[in-house]
Symmetry: C2
Subunit: 139 residues, 2 copies
């Protein structure tokens, strides 16, 4: 998803267009990796010094609920990135050095649903952690 699509989605869901929301979404579009609320605040501190934490947290949660963002929980923090909606269902490799993500199309959920016939399955999480090629050589 890109910035313009995200703004359309916001409008269609009855949300207002505010400078805070524009700045947060522009940042996430540019970074293309998982950022925490704190990361967002730091990155916007210069151009938006008065943006409160409440605003950052509330908007990130809203965006995540309406699927503009993808969300995960890592190292005791909630982290967010732009939703990859050009592709179907997918997961990510996450570089623990730089935060870079790599899309993975592999998902074993078909086998899981077959293996658990009497269970209701609502959700799942599949994430791979390590170092990306850039950080392998750098470290």
């Amino acid at each position: 998803m890109n910035f313009n699509l995200a703004m359309e989605k916001l409008k269609s869901e009855g949300f207002k267009r505010t400078p805070s929301r524009e700045a947060i979404l522009r940042l996430l579009e540019r970074e293309d990796r998982y950022l925490s609320a704190g990361d967002v605040r730091k990155a916007l501190a210069e151009k938006h010094p008065k943006m409160s934490q409440d605003t950052v947290y509330r908007n990130l949660s809203s965006f995540s609920e309406m699927k503009i963002l993808e969300e995960t929980e890592l190292g005791g923090e909630r982290k967010f990135r732009m939703h990859c909606d050009r592709h179907g269902h997918h997961h990510h490799f996450i570089c623990m050095e730089c935060g870079r993500t790599e899309k993975l199309d592999i998902c074993p959920m078909e086998q899981v649903t077959l293996a658990l016939p009497s269970f209701i399955i609502d959700d799942h999480k599949f994430e791979v952690y390590g170092q990306c090629p850039d950080c392998c050589t750098a470290g």
Copy 2:
């Protein structure tokens, strides 16, 4: 892993046998599902009212480090369960109602390592969330 094996492991790593550690490990053996530090404190409150949070957190972390426990992060909390060491590498289905877990032998990591030849892969997480058969009918 069971209580006795866990106590052996503690001894072999030079840890002392204390009433706190016994109580925590007995509880986790009995429950056989993911518990948070808070869950542990509540469950032990009657018989061990003076056990401090420091003791609970420190011991859960130690046990996790030495692979007596398995650990995950769920709903903003660290959760722990006895390590399933009779079986090889595995993952879990986790019931969001009662916390019951079901072992999954399915894991797609071979395909992932093939798909990411120039990445260093250190770890991964694969969890499935939903309702177990008991909670399906109850809910």
